[in-house]
């Protein structure tokens, strides 16, 4: 399992360019964020320029990774080791982060321009930069210290971003989120303490060699698992998620639901694959919770009255899909084929959901912004006036429903196949039921939007590009379904 995460395997010292590219990818977001805080951009083009730089850095890294397979960085200052690596998975997630971040950043100026000016608006930029940097770091870090730093920066910045809108319920939700995420990372830290105390090292590659099953590994895994599950909003610990989004700014929600929660999940999977590989029960428990999550999230979203709650709750259900895969990835006696399929499906689902969910939040934001209505009833009859936003929502929802041709479908296909091969019928049932539930709540919204009898309220025109960006993301999620070959190729090529 570890080779999949690029912890073991060929060591190849990176080219000069990739050093700089990495530095750019990790630091530039922060820098640009700070700059933007000082000179807040009013138009889209400066943002575009900044993004272009970061994206080119990403492209460089991509090229190198494709050549090298795995890139490693090791530094040691005064006994504190920092280890980074880039393999298929982290490369994909890095790219995903950068593009998604770029989309969110490009979306922001328009939003700030047409929505009434906020006091803290300018702080959005540095926080966004911090989140993106932290995410990038989280994908590439391979020692517990760096991971901790990344997680914490990400968490705090995310909370701050969510708090920015400054309304009461946002503050309440944000406060809850703040406390929980801090405690969650303390649980993680406790696990780290045990590991450090017992094995005396923090780099994952080293740990992967020395770790052998035993009480320390187990309890540490349990603590970290619980903490990260809390941060990743896995099922029974998910309840903080939807209120957080209900009054946050659109790009913030997009980033958060798309990536931030995924980061904790990624770390969780990475650590568990080291600490308790081929254990039976723990992944099973996660999977069961995942099945519940699929159903529960679906139901909540189905009964939701406000659009944002619907979208946010659907995140819970979609994370459930990922949880269901745990036994296939970590569990014992899974055939290699099944495991490979599950691996591909897991990341494809993650990417597809990230893109689609971001697009969906943007579309929902556009609808809410244009109509000034938050509830589904209020949004009735939008199909006539805001066809494009609705189309974006639809395309995104196709991915969430896992209907072809979309990343969601291909991922679901792979997962189903692997489940069928390894005979996990409950998981199959969960996935299929999930599809129906998703359709149920998605089309509940569409039903409202197609009403012709609805009263016509005044529509605020959207800034140019807001819909286009969302559409781009949605289409990306769409295209990922049929062109899934390329990312998966990178996934294999990187980890082979």
């Amino acid at each position: 399992m570890n080779w999949r995460f690029g912890l073991t395997g060929s060591t190849f010292d990176p080219l000069m360019t990739s050093h700089w590219a990495l530095a750019a990818a990790l630091l530039l977001p922060l820098v640009f964020g700070a700059l933007a805080a000082i000179f807040p951009p009013r138009r889209m083009w400066p943002v575009a320029l900044a993004c272009a730089v970061i994206l080119t850095a990403g492209i460089f890294l991509l090229i190198d990774t494709r050549q090298a397979g795995v890139l490693r960085w090791q530094w040691e200052f005064s006994g504190i080791g920092v280890a980074l690596r880039l393999n298929g998975v982290s490369m994909l997630l890095l790219l995903l982060t950068q593009w998604l971040g770029a989309a969110a950043a490009l979306y922001t100026p328009g939003l700030l321009r047409i929505s009434d000016p906020e006091r803290f608006a300018r702080w959005l930029w540095p926080l966004m930069g911090a989140v993106i940097s932290a995410l990038s770091l989280a994908w590439v870090a391979t020692d517990l210290l760096t991971l901790y730093i990344a997680l914490e920066t990400m968490g705090l910045a995310a909370v701050a971003m969510l708090l920015l809108s400054g309304q009461a319920d946002a503050l309440l939700a944000g406060m809850r989120y703040l406390l929980l995420t801090l405690v969650g990372s303390l649980a993680y830290l406790l696990g780290v303490a045990l590991i450090l105390g017992y094995w005396g090292r923090l780099d994952l590659a080293g740990l992967a060699e020395v770790v052998e099953p035993g009480p320390v590994a187990w309890v540490a895994a349990a603590l970290m698992g619980a903490g990260l599950a809390l941060k990743a909003a896995l099922f029974p610990l998910h309840a903080w998620l939807s209120p957080v989004h209900s009054s946050a700014w659109t790009p913030v929600s997009a980033l958060h639901a798309g990536l931030v929660v995924k980061a904790s999940l990624f770390v969780l999977l990475e650590l568990w694959s080291i600490l308790l590989f081929e254990t039976f029960w723990a992944p099973r428990v996660i999977a069961w919770m995942g099945m519940l999550a699929v159903v529960w999230g679906g139901l909540i979203a189905w009964r939701a009255e406000s659009l944002k709650t619907l979208v946010a709750s659907s995140t819970v259900a979609q994370l459930g899909y990922l949880m269901v895969v745990f036994p296939l990835l970590l569990g014992p006696d899974i055939s290699p084929l099944a495991r490979a399929l599950a691996w591909d499906g897991f990341w494809l689902q993650l990417m597809g959901h990230a893109l689609a969910k971001a697009a969906m939040f943007m579309a929902a934001g556009n609808l809410i912004l244009a109509t000034g209505e938050k509830t589904l009833e209020g949004l009735a009859g939008t199909s006539r006036r805001l066809p494009l936003s609705l189309l974006v929502f639809g395309v995104a929802s196709v991915t969430l429903m896992g209907l072809p041709p979309s990343a969601g479908f291909t991922a679901k296909w792979l997962l189903l196949q692997s489940m069928v091969i390894s005979g996990q019928w409950w998981a199959v049932a969960a996935l299929l039921v999930g599809t129906l539930l998703t359709a149920a709540y998605i089309f509940r919204f569409f039903r409202y939007s197609f009403m012709e009898t609805a009263p016509r309220h005044r529509y605020q025109p959207l800034a140019p590009g807001m819909d286009v960006i969302a559409l781009g993301l949605a289409l990306a999620a769409f295209a990922l379904g049929l062109l899934a070959h390329f990312p998966l190729d990178l996934l294999h090529g990187g980890s082979a």
């Binding site: 517990l144 210290l145 309440l172 406390l179 990372s185 303390l186 303490a193 005396g200 309890v219």
Partner: protein, 226 residues
């Protein structure tokens, strides 16, 4: 001198635990916060005894000088009386919740304790070998339980800080003064401070916007459905 050191450690551990418990379970917020100040000072001493001056310094600066003001700010000490938070947390948790939390806290205590014991087999023979470690375990469990128990935001924030300190103690106790450990703890301290700062700001603002009951962290089940 060993014994004396032990003695000092034991005393410190006791102080820490008592301070922690007071600051966790005192319903009078201002008192709880002042206990927290004492607690941070003890922590600094503890770091010294553990021969980590750097950490002691950090604790002194960040814990005592930066974090505690946040709490007092949150309580509205520096503001005119009208904007002060109510001095007590009158919210009565249902008993069942309390019982559950206590049990969970005990479970954590046992869990962590067991592992610590597994790491230091020697502890079997002389349990007081590492009093600070034990204190850490107790603090972690208690703080966690308190965090899960309370609904008052300030108290939860306090609980979080105590929990953090407990974790640091454990870390230091288990890993010794390993530079990596120190780095971790330093980071965590900064994070804790930032968190507290943010929390304090939010609490103030919430109190202004929503008044007292907002401090209990929710407006009932209204959020669930919308």
């Amino acid at each position: 001198m060993i014994a004396s050191v032990d003695l000092i450690e034991v005393v410190l551990a006791l102080c820490l635990v008592t301070a922690a418990l007071f600051c966790l379970f005192d319903r009078h917020l201002l008192r709880a916060c002042s206990f927290f100040v004492a607690f941070t000072l003890c922590m600094a001493l503890a770091w010294l005894t553990l021969a980590a001056p750097w950490l002691a310094l950090m604790e002194g600066i960040i814990g005592a000088l930066l974090t505690t003001p946040c709490f007092f700010y949150a309580l509205g000490v520096f503001t005119p009386a009208s904007e002060k938070l109510p001095s007590h947390d009158h919210f009565k948790e249902p008993l069942s919740r309390g019982v559950m939390r206590t049990l969970l806290a005990l479970a954590w205590c046992l869990m962590v304790g067991a592992v610590v014991r597994f790491i230091f087999p020697a502890m079997v023979y002389s349990p007081t070998e590492h009093p600070l470690l034990l204190a850490g375990v107790v603090m972690v469990a208690a703080a966690m339980g308190a965090f899960a128990w309370h609904r008052h935001l300030v108290r939860r924030l306090l609980a979080f800080n105590v929990l953090g300190s407990g974790v640091f103690l454990l870390l230091a106790g288990l890993a010794g003064t390993d530079p990596q450990g120190q780095a971790l703890i330093t980071t965590a301290l900064v994070v804790a401070w930032l968190g507290s700062l943010l929390g304090a700001l939010v609490i103030r603002r919430l109190y202004r916007l929503e008044g007292e009951n907002a401090l209990l962290g929710s407006r009932g089940l209204k959020e669930t459905r919308q």
